[in-house]
């Protein structure tokens, strides 16, 4: 496959940045999207150019490090798929592909396609935890959890914090991410003591970071590689309104 890439290049946080066009030839349809970029980067390095910076780690779709907006869709057209698990066979030979970083004020570009997602860390630090005495792990069956609650909590806990929800949201809202964490902990017995404080603290931190508000467009859940449901946002709203009532 031969492809034309239009890639966002930005030398650093203070650089204005621009779209740069590259030709990539002899791409195997079996390559992942990141492997295709690896091929381009190797050539750039051999040519003495600066390789395109992008985040990645496990390349198994479970770490949440990778992510870029491909042809206007976070993680590309393939549903429930991270960029590292997106394969080139989903693109037509000769296609032009536009690649951009997540766009949100709380996610400043570090370089090229790498953004600083520290805002997510600070939201977690504000309340995305439970306080338990440290020590040996308790027996798994010492506190019973209803099957339905366990299922919903697990579904919410699959959030890998990649930030695609923010990138896709027309309002630049981090509601799906924050709601997934609030839902995950709020459904389990261990999460109850801090449930009210958690919702308030995480939402206030989300606002302090500069994310927009949720208008229920559903764009976030449509691009989420883990298919986190809008139900989590409903749960977050209920927890928050109960806490501030």
């Amino acid at each position: 496959m031969n492809l034309t890439l239009k890639v966002w290049r930005q030398n650093g946080p203070d650089d204005r940045g621009r779209m740069v066009t590259y030709r990539v030839e002899d791409v195997s349809p079996d390559m992942s999207f990141l492997e295709m970029l690896d091929v381009l980067n190797e050539r750039l390095i051999l040519d003495g150019d600066d390789p395109i910076a992008f985040d990645h780690d496990c390349r198994e779709g479970i770490c949440g490090m990778c992510g870029m907006v491909i042809n206007g869709v976070a993680h590309g057209e393939q549903r429930a798929t991270t960029t590292c698990q997106l394969h080139m066979r989903h693109f037509a030979d000769g296609a032009t592909i536009t690649i951009e970083p997540w766009r949100a004020a709380p996610f400043p570009v570090v370089k090229d396609l790498v953004v600083d997602r520290g805002a997510f860390d600070r939201i977690i630090q504000a309340g995305g935890f439970i306080s338990v005495p440290a020590g040996s792990a308790p027996d798994a069956h010492s506190i019973p959890v209803k099957k339905e609650d366990a299922d919903d909590a697990f579904d919410a806990a699959t959030c890998i914090g990649c930030g695609a929800c923010v990138a896709a949201c027309p309002n630049g809202s981090a509601s799906l991410f924050t709601a997934a964490k609030i839902t995950h902990l709020g459904l389990l017995p261990q999460g109850q003591p801090e449930r009210d404080a958690r919702a308030v603290a995480m939402i206030e931190q989300m606002d302090a970071e500069g994310f927009g508000g949720c208008t229920n467009t559903g764009e976030c859940t449509a691009v989420c590689p883990k298919g986190i449901s809008l139900d989590t946002i409903s749960r977050m709203n209920r927890d928050y309104l109960k806490a501030v009532k």
Binding site: K6, P106, P170, S173, A197, S234, N237
Partner: protein, 260 residues
């Protein structure tokens, strides 16, 4: 030696809703510290204000539509209904009690609805200072959700005109002195087709607004999940369609001469 522990104190029931623990003061990225925001200070709180004020407006719209449809029962029934709205509750209550209460509620709801909309729209534009080069492809098919902001402005402009036309009679051919029925028939006269066109456009915008707003309000208040949300979305579509048909029926009937 004199200190005692009251029996059972250690295992006494804790009040079910312990006071909300003060949120650790959130730190802005620059290390700037802020106090707790409170309901009206957070995006989620403002959305709740939008949901509740919107619900007030929807309840009004239902009553308004039912009242409008009385025009099909004839001039007498319509004018009597308009008069009844002014005298309901008399003599126990002073005249115009129902109307005054409704007006106060509506003005408050409209102002709160607009305030939260403007606040959230400003946040949204600040949250994405650099736009995507590739036109963002919408995956959720939420066309109506994207009409909410400009649709709201069109509805606001329409409400101003509508009040000047049929409530105050300022821009109505018959003026404020005429009966409500005469004002309605004169206002949607075929010679004023552009008034009817604007009316139909605004009502269509209200329909789109409700298509998203009706279920969205329940989601924002955390009242629906899963299948209930999908059912509610269908109910919202049906309710919006009924309201649009109910409101469009009257001017169209005047236009084609069914009501004259």
């Amino acid at each position: 030696m004199t200190s005692t522990i009251e029996r059972g104190a250690a295992t006494a029931a804790v009040p079910r809703r312990a006071p909300v623990k003060k949120a650790p003061t959130p730190k802005a990225p620059g290390g700037r510290r802020r106090g707790p925001a409170g309901l009206l200070g957070t995006t989620n709180g403002r959305k709740a204000v939008m949901a509740v004020s919107g619900a007030v407006l929807v309840l009004f719209l239902i009553g308004h539509m039912v009242g409008n449809l009385k025009i099909f029962l004839g001039a007498g029934a319509f004018n009597d209904y308009a008069a009844w709205l002014r005298t309901v509750g008399e003599p126990a209550l002073p005249g115009r009690t129902l109307l005054t209460v409704t007006e106060v509620l509506l003005v408050a709801a409209v102002l709160l609805h607009m305030w939260s909309a403007v606040a959230l729209a400003r946040r949204a534009s600040a949250a994405r200072p650099v736009r995507y080069a590739a036109r963002p492809r919408r995956r959720a098919g939420g066309y109506v959700a994207r009409t909410m902001r400009y649709g709201g402005v069109i509805i606001l402009l329409f409400v101003v005109w509508h009040l000047l036309d049929l409530t105050f009679g300022a821009v109505n051919p018959k003026g404020a002195a005429a009966t409500p029925y005469d004002r309605m028939v004169a206002g949607f006269d075929p010679s004023r087709w552009w008034v009817t066109a604007f009316y139909v456009l605004a009502v269509a915008m209200v329909g789109l607004h409700l298509r998203h707003g009706l279920w969205s309000a329940f989601q924002t208040l955390g009242l629906v999940r899963g299948r209930a949300r999908r059912t509610l979305s269908a109910v919202a579509a049906a309710s919006a369609a009924v309201l649009v048909l109910g409101f469009v029926a009257v001017p169209v009937a005047v236009m084609i001469g069914v009501v004259k």
